[in-house]
C-alpha cells in the first residue's frame, strides 16, 4: 500500500509540473497588456522601467521559472513565517496580482471562507440528502419513490445551475420575498439576528448547488446498492435470521458505500472550481468569482495561480480516492 502511494505521489509530480506549464503557455498567448490601464501621462522610460520591474520582457522560460520558484518556494516559506513567526522569506518577491496590486495568496485567503461556507455546505447537504434517497430507491426498485427519485435526479442533471439559480431568484426572492438574491459578504455574524440573516442569504445558493450533487450521488448510490442487493451474502444474512434493517443498513450499505465514498472524494475539487456560475449568479465573492474577474481583467498571475491550485486539488483528490478504494475494499491490492 505504502509503495503504491509513494509511486502514485511520484507520478503526480511530473503531471502537475506539466499542467502548470500548459496553463502558463496558454496564458502566455494572452494579448492583454498589464500596464494598459495605467495613465497615458507616464513617460515611456518610466513605463519601460515598470515593465522591467514586472519582468514582462524576459523570455517565457524565465518568467515560468520565476513563477514556479515563487509558487513552490517563496509562498510556502512565507506561510511558514506566518505560522512560526520566523523570517526566512524576508525580501523575497511573492506572486503579485496585477489587478489588486497585492500578493495573490492574501486575496485567495480572503475569499476561501465564502466559498467553503456556501459551496462546501452545499456539498455536505447534497451528500446527506443523496445517500438515503439512493438507499430507498434501490431497496424499493421501480416503486413510486424510485420513479420520482429517478425523475428528480434527471432534472437535477438537466437543469443547468444558471437556470435553476435564476428560477430560485424569481420564485423565492422576487415573487415571494423570503430570501435575498445577493450574498452580502460584509455581514458580520455576532448575534442571533445576523446569524438568521446569514442562513437566509446562504439558502438559495446552497439549494441550487445541493440539487446538482444530490442528482449525481443518489443515482450512484442506487446503482451501487442494486449491485450488492442480489449477492449471495445478502441471502445468507437473511437466512441466518437477521432483521431486514441489519441486512440492508449494515451488510449491504457498508459494501455499497465503497465506490460512493470514492466518488464523493472525486467531487471535492468541484467545490472550489465548479461553482463559478453559481457564485456569479448570487454574487458570492468566493474563489470562482475571483477567477472570473481575474480572467476579465487579464490578471495573469492570479489566473495562473488559481487554475493551478484547482489542478492540484483535482490530482490530490484522485490520489485520495484511489487510496480510499484500496483501504476500504480488501479485495483490491495494489502491490
Amino acid at each position: 500500500m505504502l509503495t503504491f502511494f509513494i509511486r502514485r505521489l511520484l507520478t503526480a509530480i511530473p503531471t502537475l509540473v506539466l499542467i502548470s506549464l500548459i496553463i502558463f503557455l496558454l496564458l502566455d498567448l494572452a494579448p492583454g497588456d498589464p500596464l494598459a490601464d495605467q495613465p497615458l501621462s507616464i513617460p515611456p522610460e518610466v513605463r519601460q522601467r515598470m515593465r522591467d520591474a514586472l519582468g514582462l520582457d524576459s523570455p517565457a522560460y524565465v518568467r515560468y521559472l520565476l513563477w514556479a520558484k515563487q509558487f513552490f518556494w517563496v509562498e510556502p516559506l512565507y506561510f511558514l513565517d506566518w505560522v512560526a513567526g520566523t523570517n526566512f522569506s524576508d525580501g523575497m518577491q511573492r506572486i503579485v496580482s496585477w489587478q489588486f496590486r497585492a500578493p495573490v495568496f492574501d486575496i485567495i485567503v480572503q475569499r476561501i471562507p465564502q466559498t467553503l461556507w456556501v459551496v462546501g455546505l452545499a456539498y455536505l447537504v447534497g451528500v446527506i440528502i443523496a445517500l438515503p434517497i439512493g438507499i430507498i430507491s434501490a431497496y424499493k426498485q421501480y416503486s413510486w419513490f424510485d420513479q420520482v427519485g429517478t425523475f428528480v435526479s434527471m432534472i437535477g442533471f438537466s437543469v443547468p445551475p444558471f437556470f435553476s439559480g435564476v428560477l430560485m431568484i424569481v420564485f423565492f426572492a422576487i415573487m415571494l420575498p423570503w430570501f435575498p438574491s445577493i450574498y452580502d459578504t460584509t455581514l458580520v455574524v455576532d448575534d442571533f439576528q445576523s446569524l438568521g440573516q446569514q442562513i437566509r442569504q446562504m439558502t438559495l445558493p446552497v439549494m441550487v448547488l445541493a440539487l446538482q450533487t444530490t442528482a449525481q450521488l443518489s443515482r450512484f448510490m442506487r446503482a451501487s446498492m442494486l449491485d450488492n442487493l442480489n449477492h449471495d451474502y445478502v441471502r445468507t444474512a437473511r437466512a441466518k435470521g437477521m432483521t431486514e434493517k441489519v441486512v440492508v443498513l449494515v451488510h449491504v450499505l457498508r459494501n455499497s458505500l465503497i465506490p460512493v465514498v470514492t466518488v464523493i472524494a472525486l467531487g471535492i475539487p468541484s467545490i472550489f472550481g465548479g461553482a463559478i456560475i453559481t457564485e456569479q449568479i448570487f454574487k458570492v465573492n468566493g474563489l470562482g468569482q475571483l477567477l472570473i474577474t481575474a480572467i476579465y481583467a487579464n490578471d495573469l498571475p492570479m489566473v495562473q495561480t488559481l487554475a493551478f491550485i484547482f489542478a492540484v486539488l483535482i490530482v490530490a483528490c484522485n490520489l485520495i480516492a484511489d487510496m480510499l478504494y484500496g483501504l476500504l475494499d480488501p479485495r483490491i491490492r495494489y502491490d
Binding site: 443547468p160 424569481v170 422576487i174 472550481g273 463559478i276 487554475a307 490530482v315
Partner: protein, 307 residues
C-alpha cells in the same frame, strides 16, 4: 452454449429481412422515457429548423415602439427591450445552440474514439495516450475554456467574421476538452475485444492493422461510442450556454439560448418570464437527450435486449 443453435433455427425465417438495428429499435421503443425524449428532441429540432419558415419575423428586426410587450397574438412570447420578437429569437438561438451541440459532440467523439482505439490497439502508444487522457482529466476545464475563448476570440473573429469565428472557437474548445471519457470507455472495450477469437482469426489470415480496426474493432465498439455521443450533445449544449451566460459566448446580435438567458437576467425584476423560455428550452433539450442516451444504452446492450 448447446441450446443456442437450436434456438436460432426457428428464428431464422423471421430474421432474414431484419438487421440487428430492428432489434435495437424494438428495445428502444419499449423504454418509455427514451421514446418520449426522442419525440421531444425531434419536436425541438423541427421547430427551430422549420419554425422560421412559418414564423417569418426576423429575429434581428427592431420595432422600438413595441418594446417590452407582453404575450399577444403578434408576439406569442412577447418582445425584448428593443422590440425584437422573442419567439423568432428563440428559434434562431435554438438553431445555433443545437448546431453547437452537434458539432462539438462530433469533434469530441471522433477525437475520443480515435484516441481510444489507437491506445487500445497499439500497445506501444497506450502509456503515452492514456497519460495524455489523464492529464486532460486533471486540467481545470471550465477556467481553461474561459481563458481559451478570451484569448482567441479576436483573432478568429478577424479571419472568419464574428459569428463564424465564435462558432469555430466554441465548438473546437468544447470538442478538445470533452473527449476523455469516450477515449477511456473505447479503450477498455478495445482491450477486451483484442483477446477475442475472431480478432485472432482475422490476424491469423494476415489482416493488416488498418483493416482490422475498420472492419472488426470499430463496428464492435460502436454502441459505447453512440451512447457517449448522445450524452455529449447534452454536455456541449450546457457548456455553450454556460459560456454565453458568463458573457464569453456569441455576440449579442447572434443569439443562442444561453445568450438570451444572459440578456434576460438584466430585466429579471421587471420581466421575470423572459428568463423562462430560453432556460426551459435548454433544460428540455438536455433532459430529452439524456433520456435518449439512457434508452440507447439499454437498447444497444445485447444482454438486456433479449429480455
Amino acid at each position: 452454449m448447446t441450446d443456442a443453435p437450436i434456438a436460432a433455427v426457428p428464428a431464422k425465417p423471421d430474421t432474414s429481412g431484419r438487421s440487428q438495428w430492428w432489434d435495437v429499435w424494438d428495445q428502444f421503443k419499449s423504454h418509455k422515457g427514451a421514446l418520449f425524449g426522442a419525440a421531444v428532441f425531434g419536436f425541438i429540432v423541427l421547430s427551430v429548423t422549420l419554425g422560421p419558415l412559418i414564423w417569418t419575423l426576423e429575429p434581428t428586426f427592431i420595432d422600438i415602439r413595441a418594446r417590452n410587450a407582453g404575450a399577444s397574438m403578434a408576439h406569442p412570447f412577447g418582445t425584448d427591450q428593443l422590440g425584437r420578437d422573442i419567439l423568432a429569437r428563440m428559434m434562431a438561438g435554438g438553431q445555433v445552440s443545437i448546431a453547437v451541440g452537434l458539432t462539438a459532440m462530433l469533434i469530441s467523439v471522433v477525437l475520443g474514439a480515435f484516441i481510444g482505439v489507437v491506445a487500445g490497439f497499439f500497445r506501444r502508444l497506450d502509456t503515452f495516450l492514456m497519460g495524455l487522457t489523464n492529464l486532460f482529466l486533471a486540467l481545470p476545464l471550465l477556467p481553461l475554456l474561459l481563458v481559451m475563448v478570451m484569448l482567441f476570440r479576436e483573432t478568429l473573429a478577424r479571419s472568419f467574421g464574428p459569428e463564424m469565428g465564435t462558432f469555430i472557437l466554441i465548438v473546437s474548445a468544447i470538442g478538445i476538452t470533452s473527449w476523455m471519457q469516450t477515449a477511456r470507455i473505447v479503450r477498455g472495450e478495445v482491450l477486451a475485444l483484442k483477446e477475442r477469437e475472431f480478432v485472432l482469426a482475422a490476424r491469423s489470415i494476415g489482416t493488416p492493422s488498418r483493416r482490422m480496426i475498420l472492419r472488426h474493432i470499430l463496428p464492435n465498439v460502436l454502441s459505447p461510442i453512440m451512447v457517449s455521443a448522445t450524452l455529449g450533445i447534452a454536455t456541449a449544449i450546457i457548456t455553450e450556454s454556460a459560456l454565453s451566460f458568463l458573457g464569453l459566448g456569441f455576440p449579442p446580435d447572434f443569439p443562442t439560448w444561453g445568450r438570451l438567458l444572459f440578456d434576460a437576467i438584466d430585466y429579471l425584476q421587471q420581466y421575470p418570464e423572459r428568463v423562462f423560455w430560453p432556460g426551459l428550452a435548454i433544460s428540455l433539450t438536455v433532459l430529452s437527450v439524456n433520456y435518449i442516451g439512457d434508452g440507447l444504452r439499454d437498447a444497444l446492450d445485447p444482454r438486456i435486449r433479449g429480455r
